[in-house]
Symmetry: C2
Subunit: 108 residues, 2 copies
DNA sequence: TCATGAAATGAATTATAAGGCATAGAAATT
DNA sequence: AATTTCTATGCCTTATAATTCATTTCATGA
């Protein structure tokens, strides 16, 4: 299953050991919006970009034809990636909130 | 100058030889929104995704650390890329509307 | 210069995201 | 069981994007 945008972002946040609240604080957006987005809800581009920046990710438009190549390039580095400075609070957010199929807020 | 998201998308549309109206029609969004977005205005994620799909591009979140690598991977293929089936109307949309610095609608 | 195609915008209305505050659930720790 | 931490949501207000007309501006080619 190819991960959706919001799923990947969530994974990134968890990879950095950040709670939604912390990510929101750093982005200057609301915790609610992080939740909404990660559940597949709709947000404005400006909001998403703020979040992305806080998570240190860029949103790159990739032609479909090149998607696979880029995917594999990134897949190598994806994973737990507990980063050197994980500001984790509890044992691991990663374990507690696994990426599972969403159902509520929908978005193409 | 690293191209912005909207600039890259615009370039993609032009590369496919599509007018805003045609891109809008294919996306099921309005021509106005294409214009708004391409000028750096704010749109919802759902709107952007529809447009991206019509342009056959994926929106991939790339960790900053990998951005350069991905960039160079894509840069090779970027350019006029008049595609085999360019449904171009006039000589070339590419020439008429060059990617220049924007000023009006702002968006982080 | 006139007709054409494309992009940018105006105005008014509707839909929906954002903001602020608070709380309810869920999961893990002690 | 109580506490802590994180996520999902309810409610209300405000801000802003989407829609739906249309028009204007601009560049091009006939």
């Amino acid at each position: 299953m190819k991960p959706n945008l919001h799923q990947t972002i969530r994974a990134r946040r968890l990879g950095l050991g950040l709670s939604q609240a912390e990510a929101a604080r750093r982005s200057g957006i609301q915790q609610r919006q992080v939740s909404t987005f990660e559940r597949g809800g709709d947000v404005t581009l400006s909001t998403l970009l703020k979040l992305a920046q806080a998570l240190d990710v860029e949103l790159m438009p990739v032609p479909r034809e090149d998607a696979a190549k880029v995917e594999s390039l990134l897949k190598a580095k994806r994973g737990p990636a507990p980063s050197v400075f994980a500001p984790v609070s509890s044992p691991s957010l990663l374990e507690r909130y696994q990426v599972k199929d969403d159902e509520e807020p929908s978005n193409g």
